[in-house]
Symmetry: C2
Subunit: 217 residues, 2 copies
Amino acid sequence: MTDELKKTARSKVKRVARRAHYDRDTINAVLDATVLCHVAYVIDGEPYCTPTLHWREGDHVYWHGSSKSRFLKSVVGKRACLTVSHLDGLVIARSAFHHSVNYRSAMLYGEVELVSDADKAEKLKNLIDHIYPGRWDSLRPMNGQEVKATTVLRMAIDEGAAKVRTGGPVDDEEDYALPIWAGVVPLRVEIGAPEPDPRNLDGIEIPEHIRNFRLGR
Amino acid sequence: MTDELKKTARSKVKRVARRAHYDRDTINAVLDATVLCHVAYVIDGEPYCTPTLHWREGDHVYWHGSSKSRFLKSVVGKRACLTVSHLDGLVIARSAFHHSVNYRSAMLYGEVELVSDADKAEKLKNLIDHIYPGRWDSLRPMNGQEVKATTVLRMAIDEGAAKVRTGGPVDDEEDYALPIWAGVVPLRVEIGAPEPDPRNLDGIEIPEHIRNFRLGR
């Protein structure tokens, strides 16, 4: 595994090539900073765009779903595109044309692999502990039926690119003389105060991984 | 156009069918509440999942991009899947299996249509005014070259579904006796204080559509 992703024909179709990054650190940072991705599959020639949770372990990105889903099973061994996007701000310019957004995104391409039954339980532990570090050991243990009811898929991080835009508007030089407000409206995901389940037992303390919850790593 | 979307085979592959909604009000509310969607296309049999801005006008959802993009042009007349997702919270249960997320999503399927040159300028006005109500009239007018450099695509809102999950964890009955904290960590998009461009003219006031900016409608 190299530190850079393959620059395939797919990479070349990016709308703004100069925003593309192929280094693994940038791509990993985009993947790791949230838990929501969108996966595009093709089934019978039709595209599907499914939002799902993802997590990364080294050189692979993982997602999961119900084993009952023929949909998930039907994509094993096929190509998919997994995309993670962060909308960081609205970029407000002096002309409509130069309005933009600040964002970080990663688009990965690869073949979908089915995680074996032998490895599934460990991967599901890693999912929980990725979102809530250390939570797994505090839970009622997973039983065999639950593992069986879950499908875990993965894709090698090998092909694709990240794209990042930051900063303010870039207007046509003559437009800077116009009396038009320009700037950036920043956006970020706010984590609200944890809401305890009404059926929590008396005296149960909020665990550290919830009290100091962070989205992503 | 009916008030309900077609329930095709595609709709049936939803992982949790009971969370599906086919009424237009629910779907429109999911679409309208943000500006970021993900569109899945198939090109030469390969899936692509592209994050982009979207807006809705009546019975169609629109997106745009650079006219230079052969990528965008190559999907005209082909099927796509446009998905909008809101991650509203993390649902924390007493067993790994019942952890979940609160979300609103809409997945739409349809054929991609190219908006004609005659209609493009009006659509781009609608994009700006969708994100920043009333801003278009305050801008340096769009010129013909800029309109030409932009491709606008759309899809009829006709086939697909919304899915919504709200509320706390639903645990196995016997697990409620366990001394494990459960609950919800809410997430929402926070809109930061507008950051004026350093090159704004002296005395330019921040317009109302920025001062009271809301993401989506």
